[in-house]
Amino acid sequence: MKSLIVVMALSIATLVGLVCMRVQATQSGKNQESAVSQSTISSDSNSELAQGAPANPQTSSDSGRSLVLVASLTVFVLSVFVGFEIIAKVPPTLHTPLMSGSNAISGITVVGAIIAAGYKETGIGSFFGMVAIVLAMINVVGGFLVTHRMLLMFKKR
């Protein structure tokens, strides 16, 4: 019951985060593409990198930006509490599968790796992204499969 409340709070916090991102997207009207996905950066900012020119973050979006940060931190902190709530009740019998299962979940970094590898300007960054996909995918697939193998042994009875 307690964890249900925390899960609801978490969902609300995530919605707040989404709203904040909208605010940011409308404020930084200059950069249309960043509204599509927070991970997408327009190509003209990439050419800045090529010239080694300093980045100049739009001051108009700074307040929206700090709202996003606060929302992300909120999500992080609440998720830590959800994690404590759930994991504390797991019996010692299941601690090893729990660890390998949560390990597989930490392979969620694969999402970041896919974004990095699929970046529109193919370059050294995309290559590192590909290597990251391999590492994270071993973590994900290996973790879930080995957990499944162990849990089947517990299920037999």
Partner: protein
């Protein structure tokens, strides 16, 4: 349409949470794991079909290679090697965080200060996790170079220096607007973080690996969450935070089971105790026994408890132990297993090893559950365990393991200890249990010993 992608990530995150929740019961745990996997599939598909992603060749190569390697690893690993496997997977997750943060730094340039700090933290924690886990892997595999805890002179000073250096690099990274300097700083973070990871884990002994594995599990989650801040993705932040929290809880449980604080495990060296003359005195009245005598004792036993340690798994004796418990149950005895939290080499490891040998999980009793009932046990059979049944933890306040919770087998009517010799356990101290009047030693290899007892009981 705009909000669809983050909403799908939210659904994936909820699947992770519900999956972990459902995983907390042995009956439903398989479903919980599948829910988690479903959440991961959803997150991956969402990312691939997101409009921000374009170059599919690299993605396809990476996904296929990772899936094949991961599947092979999971199918072939032995249950005794599970701690190494989990350690390795933790490390790979950390390594992925290092690379993702780096490629984000290379791919985009208009980073905000908070994103750059996240990039730095992601690189640092990821590098520490990667190298720390690899050293833990080497220790668990018992590679000779890593078997003994190594520490450099003034190791803690060096570590503190590395942490300071990393803070400096992160600060320059965050406030520099020159991308060349940023990249140089990031490489500095990754390299000094790697040294930090090695230096943190290398001085820790093999007996403390359950703590290290749990801690690295936590770090891999936190590294993932930091990467989530880099790419502004809530799914990474939520999943990373969940894993970080679960790792911290397991670390706490392991530390408590050894009666040591986390900082003591990380920075302290366990003091050896007990002089040689002392040992002879303690072991003056040790009595040994034979399979036939053990069979006679077991003949009248109503309640028998096995106390397995990692030595049992090394001797591959778990199947023989189950065979013996089946024989005893057929003769009307109640057989249970008393599992100390650090009986294996990672949290819950012993339970997995016994489950593999087809021992039903309701016969596996936790230490706190079985301790109050041990005085009504007729025979306790200790196999491959030593420090976790050492009564000096309770009686001798000067012992290095003083205060460590133990399984009180000395309260049972008869204790049979199956062991090759009287050599000490990980803690390097003598065990007064072996010399108690109700204890009988049976010196033999675990598996053969149990098989001989089975034969003798059947011959009754």
């Amino acid at each position: 349409m705009n909000a669809l992608v983050p909403l799908l990530y939210l659904v994936a995150s909820v699947l992770f949470i519900v999956g972990l929740k459902v995983m907390s019961l042995p009956r439903t745990a398989v479903r919980g794991n599948l829910l988690g996997a479903l959440g991961m599939l959803l997150a991956i598909l969402t990312t691939i079909f997101d409009r921000g992603v374009t170059g599919y060749l690299f993605i396809a190569i990476g996904l296929i290679a990772g899936t094949v390697i991961g599947t092979l690893m999971a199918k072939n690993v032995a249950m005794t090697a599970m701690p190494q496997m989990v350690g390795m997977l933790n490390g790979l997750g950390g390594g992925a965080s290092v690379l993702v943060a780096f490629s984000d730094l290379l791919n985009t340039s208009d980073h905000h200060v908070d994103t750059l700090i996240a990039v730095g933290l992601s690189g640092l924690i990821g590098a520490v996790t990667f190298w720390g886990s690899l050293v833990a892997y080497a220790k668990l595999e018992e590679w000779p170079q890593f078997k003994k805890p190594h520490s450099l002179p003034s190791q803690q000073l060096i570590n503190a220096g590395l942490v300071g250096l990393n803070c400096l690099f992160i600060a320059i990274l965050a406030f520099s607007h020159n991308s060349a300097i940023q990249i140089a700083c990031y490489l500095g973070i990754a390299i000094s973080g790697s040294f930090l990871g090695v230096f943190l884990v290398n001085p820790i002994g093999g007996a403390d690996m359950p703590v290290v594995i749990s801690l690295m599990n936590s770090y891999s989650g936190i590294a993932g969450a930091a990467t989530g801040f880099v790419i502004d993705n809530n799914a990474l932040i939520i999943a990373g935070a969940l894993v970080g929290a679960s790792g911290i809880i397991l670390t706490q449980i392991m530390c408590k089971a050894m009666n040591r604080s986390l900082s003591n495990v990380l920075f302290g060296v366990m003091a050896g105790g007990g002089s040689a003359g002392n040992v002879d005195e303690i072991y003056a009245n040790v009595r040994s026994t034979s399979p036939d005598d053990i069979a006679m004792i077991l003949d009248g036993a109503q309640r028998v408890v096995f106390v397995p340690g990692y030595g049992m798994a090394v001797a591959q004796a778990q199947h023989a132990v189950r065979e013996l418990s089946k024989v005893l149950e057929a003769r009307g005895a109640v057989v249970e297993y008393a599992i100390h939290p650090v009986a294996g080499r990672m949290p819950g490891h012993m339970n997995v090893l016994l489950a593999e040998a087809d021992v039903s999980y309701d016969k596996l009793k936790e230490m706190d559950e079985i301790n109050p009932t041990l005085d009504s046990v007729d025979v306790a059979i200790v196999i491959g365990a030593n420090d976790v049944v050492n009564p000096s933890a309770r009686t001798d306040p000067k012992s290095p393991i003083a205060g460590m919770p133990i399984i009180d087998v000395d309260k049972c009517r008869t204790v049979i200890v199956i062991k090759r010799s009287l050599s000490p356990g990980f803690a390097g101290i003598p065990n007064p249990l072996f010399a108690m009047p109700n204890t009988l030693m049976y010196y033999a290899d675990g598996q053969q010993a149990v098989l001989d007892i089975v034969k003798a009981v059947k011959a009754l």
